[in-house]
Symmetry: C2
Subunit: 466 residues, 2 copies
C-alpha cells in the first residue's frame, strides 16, 4: 500500500523521495542523505541551468575552501550571532588539537570577503561578480526532511561587490530577472517578499525571500537575495580607489538558492503515482516502451530503435526501456520517476504509421510517425505550461487578502500594516504565523494597520512556514 499525496502530503513526500530513487535517508547521520544517481542527475541539471543564468550575467565561478577559521567568521558581529547555534566545529586533526577552531561553512561571506579584501583595488575591478556551487552545513535542530531541511545542503551562492548602493541595487534587479528566467524551468510560481527587519539575514541591510507554498499549505523559502550595503565591507576592509583617488567601501549583495528547489518541485508537481519532473530538469525526458505481443517482437524492436535515434539526434534525453517485463510495469516505474513523455510503439501503431504519446499528466495523443518531432516539441511545451498553470492556480488560491486578522486561514494572509515592528510581532502572535514580509514589487495599500489602526503603509504577508 503506497501513500497518497492527496491523503497525507508529508507521508507521501517522505516516501516518494526514496521510491523515485532520488535519495537514501538511511545514512547514519540525521539530516545528511545520500544522493542516489537519479536524484543527483536532476540536481546536476538544476546546477547547469543556474550556471547558465549566472554566466550569461557575467558572474565568474570560483570555489572557496569549506573550512573557515573562527576569527575570520567572527569579524561581522551580527553574522556570527545569526549562525552561532548552527555551525559544525572542527577542533582536531589527526591526534592534534588545532590551535584555532575551524568551522564548516554555513554560508561563505566570511571566507570569500577575506579574499575580496585582497582582490579589489580600484574602481576598474568593479563590479566583481562571483558564485560557487558547493555544499554547505547547518546543524538544524528542527525535524529534518529530504531536500527541504537537511544538514548538508547543496546550493549556489553568488557574491557581488559594487561601487555604490545604486549599483548594488541594479544587481538585485538582475538577480530578480534571473529568478524569473530560472523558475520557468521548474514550472514553479514564487512570491518575492521583503523580509521584515526582525527576520532579515544575519548581517544584511535588507533581505528578499523567494518563497513558494507547498501542498501542506505552508510556505518555504527556496532562495534569498541580500543587500549588504557596507555591513561586511567595513569589517573586512573591502575598499576601492575611485577616479579621484579616494578610498571607498564597496557595497555588496548575495544571492543563493538550495536543493530546496528540487524538494519544492517534487512537492508541487507530484501526484499519487509519483513525482512529475518538468522537462528541463528531467534526466530522461522521453521514455520509449515497445508494446510487444508474441511473434511480432522484431518489427517493434526495430521501430523503437529507429524512433529512439530520431528523437535522440534531435537533442532530447531519451531512453528505450527494453527490459523483459510487461509494458504496465514499465509505465508504473517511469510514472513514479516523473518522466514527462512516454512513447508507446506496438504493432498496431506501426501499421498505422503512428506512435502513441502519453504525457505524465495522463493526456494521450496519437502522433503520425513522420511528425513525431513536432508532436514531442508541442506536447513537451504544453505539458510544461500545464504544470505551471496548475501551480499558479494553487498559489493564487492560497493567498488571502483580508482587512481583518482572520484566524485559521490556510496558506498566506495579506493584511494592511503600518510597518511598525511591534504591530508586526503582535499580528504574528495572534495568528500564530510568521511574517513573510512585504510584497515585491510593492502593492499599494489604502487600509489601516490591523493592530494600531494607523494608516497602513503596505500589505504584509503572514503564513505558516517551514
Amino acid at each position: 500500500m503506497t501513500v497518497k499525496k492527496s491523503k497525507d502530503f508529508d507521508a507521501w513526500y517522505n516516501d516518494i523521495v526514496e521510491r523515485a530513487d532520488l535519495c537514501d535517508k538511511r545514512y547514519p547521520i540525521k539530516g545528511m542523505n545520500v544522493w542516489r544517481p537519479y536524484g543527483w542527475e536532476v540536481s546536476l541539471l538544476i546546477d547547469a541551468l543556474i550556471r547558465e543564468e549566472l554566466k550569461k550575467t557575467c558572474h565568474k565561478e570560483v570555489c572557496f575552501p569549506l573550512l573557515i577559521p573562527e576569527k575570520l567568521f567572527k569579524k561581522e558581529a551580527d553574522h556570527i550571532k545569526g549562525f552561532d547555534a548552527q555551525v559544525y566545529w572542527v577542533t582536531h586533526a589527526g591526534d592534534n588539537e588545532l590551535e584555532e577552531r575551524l568551522l564548516l561553512r554555513p554560508t561563505s561571506e566570511t571566507a570569500i570577503y577575506s579574499m575580496y579584501h585582497l582582490w579589489i583595488r580600484s574602481h576598474a575591478d568593479l563590479p566583481l561578480k562571483t558564485f560557487q556551487i558547493v555544499n554547505t552545513f547547518r546543524y538544524e535542530t528542527k525535524m529534518t526532511k529530504a531536500f527541504l531541511r537537511v544538514r548538508e545542503i547543496h546550493f549556489f551562492e553568488s557574491h557581488t561587490c559594487h561601487r555604490d548602493f545604486e549599483d548594488a541595487e541594479r544587481q538585485i534587479q538582475e538577480d530578480l530577472d534571473i529568478a524569473k528566467d530560472f523558475f520557468k524551468n521548474l514550472c514553479l510560481p514564487y512570491l518575492l517578499n521583503k523580509r521584515p527587519e526582525w527576520d532579515k539575514f544575519a548581517g544584511a541591510f535588507y533581505s528578499i525571500g523567494i518563497d513558494v507554498i507547498l501542498p501542506s499549505k505552508r510556505v518555504i523559502q527556496l532562495g534569498s537575495i541580500h543587500q549588504y550595503k557596507e555591513n561586511f565591507s567595513r569589517p573586512f576592509e573591502i575598499t576601492y580607489e575611485d577616479e579621484e583617488g579616494k578610498h571607498r567601501y564597496c557595497h555588496q549583495t548575495t544571492y543563493g538558492m538550495s536543493e530546496r528547489l528540487l524538494g519544492a518541485t517534487i512537492s508541487i508537481h507530484g501526484d499519487d503515482k509519483g513525482i512529475s519532473l518538468p522537462p528541463m530538469i528531467a534526466p530522461i525526458q522521453i521514455i520509449i516502451i515497445p508494446i510487444i505481443f508474441k511473434g511480432k517482437e522484431d518489427r517493434v524492436q526495430k521501430k523503437c530503435h529507429e524512433v529512439y535515434d530520431t528523437i535522440q539526434d534531435n537533442g532530447w534525453r531519451v531512453h528505450l526501456d527494453d527490459r523483459d517485463i510487461t509494458p504496465g510495469m514499465k509505465y508504473y516505474d517511469w510514472e513514479l520517476k516523473g518522466v514527462p513523455l512516454r512513447v508507446e510503439i506496438g504493432p498496431r501503431d506501426i501499421e498505422k504509421k503512428m506512435v502513441t504519446v502519453v504525457r505524465r499528466d495522463g493526456k494521450k495523443i496519437g502522433v503520425q510517425e513522420e511528425s513525431i518531432l513536432e508532436g514531442i516539441e508541442r506536447e513537451m511545451t504544453d505539458y510544461s505550461e500545464t504544470l505551471m498553470k496548475q501551480a499558479q492556480s494553487f498559489t493564487k488560491d492560497m493567498i488571502h487578502r483580508s482587512e481583518t486578522l482572520m484566524k485559521g486561514i490556510e496558506g498566506i494572509i495579506e493584511v494592511p500594516w503600518c510597518g511598525n515592528e511591534t504591530c508586526g510581532l503582535e499580528m504574528e502572535e495572534e495568528l500564530d504565523m510568521k511574517t513573510l514580509g512585504t510584497p515585491i514589487p510593492p502593492v499599494e495599500c489604502t487600509g489601516t494597520c490591523l493592530r494600531c489602526g494607523k494608516k497602513a503603509t503596505t500589505w504584509v504577508r503572514l503564513a505558516h512556514t517551514y
Copy 2:
C-alpha cells in the same frame, strides 16, 4: 623579474599557479587554496572528461555526505590505521559537544559501504558501479603545494562491487583503459606501478599507482586503482545471494584521481612564458587578437568578429581580445594563461585573405581565411601531439634500467628484485628513494636481486617522490 622554469622549477611552479590565475594561496588556512575562475574552469573541464569516461563505462554518479561517524570509519582496521593521523574531526555543533565524533572524508569507502550493505541484495544487483566528484580532506603534515599537496582536495572516486575476484579484475582492466583514454586529453604519459605490499592503500589487497615524473625529476602519484577483494565487504557485510541462493561477499575495487592532474599538466607542459594547456582542457582554446594600426580599426574589427563567429560556430572555445592595449601585451597575457592557439588578424592579413595562427609552442603559420577551420583543426591536433611527444621523450629519458644499485640517479631507477620485502626496504634505504613498485604490465626480468643475489622475479622501480 619573473622566475624561470628552466632555472628553478619549484619556484616557477609556486609563482605560475597564481600568475596564470589558477588559484590564490593567501586563504588563511595552510594548504586550503581558493580556486580562481580560470583555474576552476580548467578543473570543471577535467571533471567533465572524467564524467564522460565513467558514464561511457556505465558508472552511475552519486553524492555521499561529507561527514562520517567515527564508529563507521573504524570498521575496517587497516583503513583507519592508514588515515588516523590525517583526518579532521568535527566534535561540536553549535554549543553542543556531539555524542559521536564525525570526520571529514579523507576518502569515502566507509561512508559508501554502509549503504552498499543496504543496496545490494542479489547477483542481479551486480556489478554495482558508482562514482562521485567531490572534495576530500587530509591533514597533510608535509609542505603543501598548490594542486600537488593540499589539504582540501578536489577528486573523483569510483567504487565498484562484483560477484567474484575475476569480475573485479575485469573492472581494473576497464579502469586502465579509462586511464589510457583520459590521459590523452592532458597530453600526459604516465607509468603504472603495482605498489609493494608495504605501500599499498590502507585496506587494499593490492594497489596500482598512476605515476608521472615532474620536471623536478621526482615522481608524483596522480591516481590509484585498488583491488579490495573482500577486505571491506566482510566488515561492512556487503553480500549478495547468488543463483543458487547462497550468500557471498562482494569483491570490490576503487579508482581515484585528484586535482594533481592539473598540477602535473601545468608542471610538465609549462615554460618560462607561463602554463601551456592541452586543447581539451583549455577554457579558451583560441584567442583572436586584432592587429590594429591607426585609421584601419573598423575593417580589422569587422574581420575579427567574422572569424570569431566562424570559429565559435564550429564548437571551439574562442575569445576575441579587444582590450585597448597593445597586441604585445595581449600575447603576454594569453601565453601566460596557456591558450593553445592565437589567431592574429591585421590589415596585411586581410589584404592577403589570410590569418596568422601562432601556437603556444611558438610555431607560426599563415592560413588562408577560407580554410581557417581546417588549419585550426590541424594545428590543434599537431600541437597536442607535440606536447605529448615532448613529455614522452622526457619521461623516457628519466627511466634508468640498471643491474647495479647506482646512487645519485635522477628520475626512476629500475632494478632486478626477488620480490622480498626485506630486500626492497634495504634498496630503498641504500638509494634513499621510495619504491614505486613493479611495472604494469609486468616486464620480464632475467637478472638477480641486487640485495640477496637470488633470481629476480621482476624489475622494481624506485624514485624520489612527492
